[in-house]
């Protein structure tokens, strides 16, 4: 057992921190919240030049081929800073193409993603807001060698600027809802697709996407027709870990900012951090951080080493969802009035904690999975 970061991981952390501190200050984060695109194309290109978009793409497809654990460590640093735009979506959904895409599709898309020329996202949730398979109703009907998609998806990250999206569609009605779900790689600019940005707490450009008679060639099916749910489970599992890493990074920023502020802010002739009422809350924030870390690293280490970890991934997502929200709220409260201001950084994280908790499954969704894993019949 050795629960320390490797030397390479320390370097990855430092380079991500240095880069984002310089290239993505909080003023830019706030500016992009109200930008029509919601991301900075120049920054995206610089990230690609550093290899960030190809971390998890095998070298044969022009990627870096880093381990999942390394990627997790990197995402924690990204979360510490906040990086607007569909970076997480692109990276997480790339795994599905690597694992289940036809060779032609891989050769086409993976180098593009790696070079920063393709933004990828996931069209999964629908108006019913369900995370389980019975929530999938968007229809994909076979027509010759093509499929035709009709229906509406919601909360699709950056669909309005994406190049491709993985659409979770129903190809068969079945007694078992998981059977009959198919994943399609769809050109996000194809005829019949209309994306509209939904106003959300983090201004993070989640879209409603209406599909009207959208034709998709059969070669764009990921894996097998009707058998896409399993691939989605992989996306959810890996996404849960990486999203939790991002949340853990944000959570750490809030702890650090709050502790630093409490040492500077003077009331009653002393720094407010000298008051035990505040000290104990900050200790609780620190405990939430410590407990989140190793739960996450365990899940990431297992994923990296091919050890079955669906339980640990769900535990990490459920736990860190709540830890981030708790720490975010305490951060706001301990800052007092200034903590409630739009121009302050703490509420920036607080709002993102809420946004993060439903991505790749809410707390209650993952707790239900955990209930099954621990043997509740």
């Amino acid at each position: 057992m050795d629960l320390r970061f490797t030397e390479q991981q320390e370097i990855l952390k430092k380079s991500a921190r240095d880069f984002l501190t310089k290239e993505c200050p909080k003023a830019k984060v706030r500016e992009l919240e109200h930008d029509a695109k919601g991301y900075d194309p120049d920054l995206w290109q610089k990230m690609a030049d550093l290899g960030w978009l190809g971390f998890n793409i095998p070298e044969e497809y022009e990627g870096m081929g880093y381990s999942f654990e390394d990627l997790t460590v990197h995402m924690e640093e990204v979360g510490r800073n906040i990086l607007p735009g569909p970076y997480m979506s692109t990276v997480v959904n790339t795994f599905a193409i690597v694992a289940a895409g036809a060779d032609e599709l891989k050769k086409d898309l993976l180098p593009k993603i790696s070079y920063g020329k393709c933004i990828l996202t996931l069209a999964w949730l629908e108006e019913n807001g369900q995370f389980d398979a019975s929530g999938i109703t968007l229809k994909a009907a076979q027509k010759g060698s093509d499929f035709v998609l009709n229906g509406t998806k919601v909360f699709v990250d950056g669909a309005h600027i994406a190049d491709n999206m993985i659409v979770v569609a129903r190809t068969k009605e079945s007694a078992k809802a998981e059977d009959g779900v198919t994943l399609f790689v769809v050109d996000a600019k194809a005829a019949g697709i209309k994306s509209t940005v939904i106003p959300t707490i983090a201004h993070d450009h989640l879209c409603e996407v209406v599909f009207k008679d959208v034709a998709v060639p059969a070669k764009n099916v990921l894996g097998k027709v009707d058998k896409g749910w399993e691939i989605l489970q992989m996306i959810i599992r890996k996404g849960s870990i990486l999203k939790s890493a991002e949340s853990l990074g944000g959570l750490q920023s809030v702890v650090e900012m709050t502790v630093a502020y409490s040492k500077e802010r003077v009331q009653y002739d002393r720094p407010i951090g000298a008051f035990q009422a505040l000290q104990h809350k900050m200790s609780d924030m620190w405990i939430a951080m410590g407990t989140s870390k190793y739960l996450l690293y365990e899940a990431a280490w297992m994923e990296s080493n091919g050890i079955p970890n669906a339980k640990e991934a769900s535990m990490a997502k459920a736990y860190i969802n709540e830890a981030y929200k708790l720490v975010g709220a305490l951060g706001v409260k301990l800052h007092g009035g200034i903590g409630t201001s739009y121009d302050h950084d703490v509420p920036l994280f607080f709002r993102r904690a809420k946004a993060a908790d439903t991505v790749y499954g809410s707390t209650d969704y993952h707790r239900e999975l955990v209930a099954q894993f621990i043997g509740l019949k």
């Binding site: 057992m1 409490s262 104990h280 405990i287 407990t291 190793y294 535990m315 459920a318 736990y319």
Partner: protein, 394 residues
């Protein structure tokens, strides 16, 4: 990062679980939880039986230097805690094995190490702690019991309290004011004492559940030999800090909860309410799953503490976090289990009890780890002061 155990560690862990599973079968019927070892003779005999079994295998000296009979490393010690914790077994003296032995190794004279370490490792001597006083709990500056030196002896007078297991212990370690005019932090002496010494009187303080855990200990002109000073005379404060630094990874507590949740899951699968198994109640599922996530989180952090200790890094903040989190998780567990049992949550170990009466026991017993070994409030101060660098209160 690597969460794997080595093959040797896995083998040791398997052996620990095997031995503990066997001992578990010999548990007295009256056993409801860890403090049952102090409640009556039956519990204490079981404690000694387990201790002998562990001593035989060298498990009470895990992580000690070889020259004092040590075996294995800190990770082996942690794996031993897991098995013992999972089966809720006594047998590892919380004062002798967990606290005094590492303190002697760090701050004791060669004579004291040679005299006491083998007896602790062989489970020949059981210790208790003479620490708190009616007016000195977390803040030892308020100590009033005195140890006045006369030649090669100290004459000790005063009252100690919350002395867990003092009614069975053979020896005690304690701290006393040895220089009434000395400066703060330089006026205390850390002494070992035979509990059979004339002038030692032990009186029970019943725990809220009625069990006998704690005592008050009265010391009237008790003679303690100067050769039993740990550290230097009048420098007991430094020894206290050494001892307090031996934060455990608390994996025994964590693994006790692992077992508790397994038993709760089993109970919910087997028990029907309104014609349906309790396990199908979505609220029950959500709450147990929530607790399981927290448990896995603290289990992983406890490994982090163990990993640090194995490299001789202190990890004081993480250890404090584990102590706070695990003890409060035990409280949460007891409330959840008690809610699930409904009216049976209040029933003591008896023919009417569900889950062997352990829930009623834990509902009250959970305060022991919360308030002992430095209350959780003090632990939060430790994190704030030493971990976060916040100003100490004056």
């Amino acid at each position: 990062m690597d969460f794997n155990l080595t093959d040797a560690q896995k083998a040791h862990r398997d052996e620990v679980f095997k031995v503990c599973a066997e001992l578990n079968k010999k548990k007295p019927k009256t056993w409801v939880g860890f403090e049952s070892q102090f409640d009556d003779e039956v519990g204490w005999e079981f404690h000694k039986l387990c201790a002998k079994e562990f001593a035989k295998r060298g498990w009470l000296a895990l992580g000690w230097p070889k020259e004092y009979g040590g075996k294995g490393d800190m990770m082996d010690k942690v794996l031993f805690q897991e098995g013992r914790g999972y089966y809720d077994l006594p047998g590892s003296d919380i004062f002798g094995v967990a606290m005094l032995a590492p303190t002697l190794l760090a701050a004791g004279s060669e004579e004291l190490k040679k005299e006491f370490l083998p007896k602790i490792a062989n489970a020949e001597l059981m210790f208790c702690e003479l620490w708190s006083e009616p007016n000195a709990g977390s803040d030892l500056a308020g100590l009033t019991a005195t140890a006045i030196r006369k030649g090669d002896e100290f004459i000790v007078n005063g009252q100690k309290t919350w002395n867990t297991g003092a009614h069975f212990a053979d020896w005690a370690f304690g701290v006393y004011k040895s220089d009434p005019n000395g400066k703060k932090h330089h006026n205390l002496t850390f002494l070992l004492c035979d509990m059979k010494s004339p002038g030692v009187t032990v009186k029970s303080i019943p725990y809220m559940s009625g069990t006998h855990v704690y005592n008050e200990v009265y010391l009237d002109d008790v003679k303690m030999s100067a050769k039993y000073i740990v550290g230097q005379e009048n420098e007991g404060w430094a020894v206290v800090n050494v001892l307090a630094g031996f934060e455990r990874s608390n994996l025994d507590m964590v693994y006790g909860l692992v077992r508790g949740i397994e038993e709760l899951v089993e109970f919910c699968n087997e028990t029907k309410k309104n014609g349906k198994p309790l396990s199908q109640d979505p609220i029950v599922r959500n709450r147990i799953a929530d607790l399981s996530c927290s448990l896995e989180a603290v289990r992983c952090l406890a490994y982090r503490v163990a990993d640090q200790q194995n490299r001789n890094e202190m990890g004081l903040m993480d250890a404090a976090a584990v102590k706070i989190f695990a003890s409060e998780l035990m409280e949460k567990y007891s409330h959840l289990a008690s809610d699930i049992l409904g009216p049976y949550g209040q029933v003591k170990n008896s023919p009417w009890a569900k889950m062997g009466g352990t829930v009623e026991y834990t509902y009250q017993g959970c305060f022991v780890p919360i308030v002992s070994m430095g209350t959780n409030e003090i632990q939060r101060n430790i994190i704030a002061w030493y971990g976060l660098g916040l100003p100490r209160m004056k």
